[in-house]
């Protein structure tokens, strides 16, 4: 019975790191400023009642990251590498979205069309990355370097060089609040995406296949799994995630700026996957972990902002956190630590024996 209980627990052991990170940040903030997490109900410019406060802005601000982290987790699990072109791809998707909207009047129908179009385009680019990785067997980070290099220029090109705006209450509704709804819409979109991906895992065998391919590709093939296909699919799903993230980012500002849209988000997305306790070398994964990781990163960022760290400097601090995490997680360090731990324990045991 005891072993059974232990197993139930070990199922969730992967989530310890992200949860612990969040808890640490929360405690730190509570000490620093007890009112950090207070939530207020205010009335915004549009006259509707909305929730505000640091907690809401963490949840809201992390939306794009959380969505990208979901896709990134899949790619990481299946290919054992990461996609560094997600920011560029989101910019491309955002540009397509804007392009469609600017073709005519902005109505719910055109918005739906725009979302479908940008998802389709992002899937095509995802498939391009996926082909380089699965068919040409190029390391994911190098393969996605191509799109990383030219993606933002492609985005620029789509809209003919300007940074066009898309002003409409409908767009604002996607980017901030739906009238009458106190919760920011991006948070709702994350929930929607989470449900969609949850359903995908429920009604297909994607989860099992992805893990199998990531853990042991040869065995996967011998069990009849199409390893190339699975890798391709993981990249295409990430493409859709990029498209959704791009739409949110565009809607927040009601304009597309190909240079700054979700800049450097690829690093955060990879970091979210790592903090979520997923091995960057692929295999077993937990999307929940990555999403929690995304919120932990955003919490860290907001905390740094609250401490009056300029937004441009945040990178440096984040880099330190990343290095700390990977150093602690590195097998060599783990092995050394466990050796030390063993020595301590055996020392204790000897002492006990001596007594």
């Amino acid at each position: 019975m005891a072993t059974n209980k232990k197993l139930k627990w070990s199922k969730y052991s992967q989530l310890i790191v992200p949860v612990l990170s969040i808890v640490l940040i929360v405690i730190f903030n509570l000490f620093r400023d007890p009112s950090f997490f207070s939530i207020e109900i205010t009335t915004n410019n549009a006259g509707s009642t909305v929730l505000t406060g640091n907690l809401v802005s963490i949840l809201n601000g992390a939306s794009e990251l959380a969505i990208l982290a979901m896709g990134m987790t899949l790619v990481t699990a299946a290919c054992g590498g990461q996609d560094i072109s997600v920011g560029a791809l989101a910019a491309i998707a955002g540009s397509v979205f804007v392009k469609v909207l600017r073709a005519g009047e902005i109505t719910p129908v055109t918005i739906a069309l725009g979302i479908v179009a940008c998802c389709a385009v992002a899937m095509v680019f995802g498939a391009f990355n996926g082909t380089l990785v699965s068919v040409f067997k190029i390391q994911p980070m190098i393969a996605t370097l191509v799109l990383f290099t030219c993606g933002r220029s492609v985005a620029y090109w789509i809209n003919g060089g300007a940074t066009p705006t898309v002003e409409s209450p409908l767009i604002t509704a996607i980017g901030s609040f739906i009238p009458g709804m106190p919760v920011p819409t991006p948070i709702l979109i994350v929930v929607l995406m989470a449900i969609l991906i949850g359903l995908l895992f429920k009604f297909t065998t994607l989860g099992l296949y992805t893990q199998t391919v990531g853990i042991n590709q040869r065995a996967a093939r011998l069990n009849g799994i199409n390893t190339t296909g699975i890798k391709l699919v993981s990249f295409m799903i990430l493409g859709v995630c990029c498209a959704v993230a791009g739409v949110i980012a565009v809607s927040r500002l009601s304009l597309i700026n190909h240079e700054t849209l979700l800049l450097d988000i690829e690093m955060d997305a990879i970091l979210a996957v790592a903090i979520g306790g997923n091995a960057l070398s692929g295999g077993k994964f937990k999307i929940t972990g990555s999403v929690l990781g995304a919120y932990a990163i955003q919490a860290l960022t907001i905390t740094l902002y609250a401490m009056k760290v300029p937004s441009t400097d945040v990178k440096a601090y984040k880099a330190i956190v990343i290095i700390l995490i990977v150093v602690i997680g590195s097998p060599v360090v783990k092995a050394k630590l466990s050796q030390v731990w063993k020595n301590i324990r055996s020392g204790k045991a000897e002492k006990e024996a001596a007594v």
């Binding site: 297909t204 099992l208 040869r218 069990n223 009849g224």
Partner: protein, 501 residues
């Protein structure tokens, strides 16, 4: 002790967690001899070699080296320094460097390397040994045989006294083997002691002076080649004295079965170098592919399952022609395959026992029809009980199970798909005796229930006990098919050993 002994190992023992890999093994190598080290899977040859090259540290025994007295070898570097060089089956050189660089890199400490001098020296050595390679050539552009020879040349130039060739011929063709052998003889005349590990009997008899046979981690004996006929060598490796063979012929349904075969292959060949072969299996039959390791027995069944790229041949199932190009095709036609290499080809290490069990069935059901949690749990529990898999729960990652139980999980994976034809490649390798007999019994039971099974094992006794027909392979060819009264150890061994006395 004779004067010309270069290396003597006495009472070597090595224990791995749960396995006694070597026990009280002696080995003696003389100056200027080629000494073959023989044994089947798990006999302990590779462990012995690894102890000698410092990859593993011995637990017991002594190693004496001519000129150095008793030595302890803790790393490959130390072994090299003592004059023990190894050339492995997989080339351990850098294909992107030139031949000369491969011969000299990592050996001196100068900042600037005088490549001109080295190339000259390398060319001289290559010419001296008659190796058809040039110093300036990129290693990758040489054939595998030449690459191996370059590795040998490096060893020779480092003045090795003991040269270990670990299955050097497994990926060479006849001409290349001949080249390698003439080099080996040349070195032998120069007084180098060569340890030759191989599975090819003919090759042993062609070049070796002496043979040491290991079995189950113990020394069987050391023999002069002239005094050990091929058949006896096979007997020693397989673990039966020729005289004392008790024939274990089971009374099989001797009547010729004329029904349509479940599976039938004609001229099947694969990219992994199996020569085209014919093969058929009928309903409820257990047959076996036998032969020594490297004879092509595994490659043949991989070709049947479509695991390697199939290059030619026709396949019929139940009399209808079908195309099996990849594992999924085979699975669709009701073929299951338990691979030889459990760790690399079989288990999905980090996944739970449950996921490992349902994997194949899931793939057959299709991408959009996931097996529900409850169903998966039911299947897993059913097979954990049926095959008596010892695991804490179905949630336990398979990697934390013992080898035998891992194997049972893979077996469960295929049984769950209810195949009409099941291929088991070395299902009993590296697992405890109890599980072995369980698996053997299971195979018989499955056949009685109407399943066709192909069974491969290194242990001939096991094959005789389980199979009603044996296909014997040697050097990637089928050399015989034995059934009924022919199924005796002696007969099998003679067929494996081939024409030679």
């Amino acid at each position: 002790m004779q004067n010309d002994v270069v290396l003597s190992m006495r009472g070597i023992g090595k224990v791995f967690p749960g396995v006694r890999a070597l026990h009280n093994v002696d080995f003696t190598l003389r100056k200027g001899e080629i000494h073959a080290l023989m044994g089947e899977n798990g006999a302990g040859k590779s462990t012995l070699i690894k102890v000698l090259t410092g990859v593993h540290i011995k637990d017991a025994g002594h190693i004496h080296l001519d000129g150095a007295g008793e030595v302890t070898i803790r790393s490959p570097q130390e072994a090299q320094a003592l004059g023990i060089s190894t050339v492995y089956q997989e080339i351990t050189l850098c294909p992107n460097l030139t031949v000369a660089e491969n011969m000299y890199i990592g050996r001196n400490k100068d900042l600037i390397v005088k490549w001109k001098d080295m190339e000259k020296k390398a060319d001289a050595i290559l010419q001296n040994l008659g190796i058809p390679a040039r110093a300036k050539q990129q290693l990758g552009s040489c054939s595998l045989a030449v690459q191996q020879m370059v590795a040998i040349a490096r060893a020779v130039d480092m003045e090795c006294k003991v040269l270990i060739l670990d299955e050097p011929t497994s990926s060479l063709d006849d001409k290349e083997v001949a080249m390698l052998f003439s080099l080996m003889r040349d070195l032998k005349n120069r007084g180098v002691g060569i340890i030759f590990v191989t599975h090819f009997l003919e090759q042993v008899y062609e070049v070796s002076d002496r043979i040491t046979v290991l079995r189950n981690g113990e020394l069987v004996g050391e023999y002069e080649v002239e005094h050990l006929p091929q058949v006896e060598l096979v007997a020693k490796m397989m673990g039966k004295e020729l005289e004392g063979l008790s024939d274990l012929v089971r009374d099989d349904n001797a009547a010729e079965d004329t029904s349509t075969p479940v599976y039938e292959a004609e001229g099947l060949s694969s990219a992994k170098g199996v020569n085209p072969f014919e093969f058929a299996i009928r309903k409820g039959e257990v047959n076996g592919f036998t032969g020594l390791l490297g004879s092509g027995r595994s490659e043949s069944v991989r070709a049947i399952f479509g695991a390697d790229r199939v290059t030619g041949g026709k396949v019929k199932m139940d009399g209808r022609q079908v195309k099996i190009a990849k594992p999924k095709d085979a699975m669709k036609h009701g073929i299951g395959y338990l691979p030889e290499d459990r760790k690399d080809d079989g288990i999905i290490a980090d996944l739970s026992v449950r996921d490992n069990i349902i994997l194949a069935l899931q793939v057959m059901k299709g991408f959009f029809k996931p097996i529900s949690q409850a169903e998966a749990e039911k299947f897993a529990d059913e097979y954990i009980k049926a095959l008596d898999i010892k695991t804490a729960s179905s949630e336990t990652p398979i990697k934390s199970l013992s080898g035998g139980n891992q194997q049972k999980v893979i077996l469960a994976r295929w049984l769950l798909t209810h195949p009409q034809y099941l291929i088991l490649d070395e299902p009993t390798r590296g697992i405890d005796v109890g599980t072995k007999t369980e698996i053997q019994r299971l195979v018989r039971k499955l056949a009685e229930e109407g399943m066709s099974v192909t069974f491969i094992s290194s242990e001939i006794e096991e094959m005789l006990r389980t199979c009603s027909r044996l296909i014997v392979m040697r050097d990637r060819h089928i050399v015989g098919e034995l059934k009924g009264t022919e199924l005796t150890q002696e007969h099998v061994m003679r067929t494996i050993a081939g024409g030679g006395d």
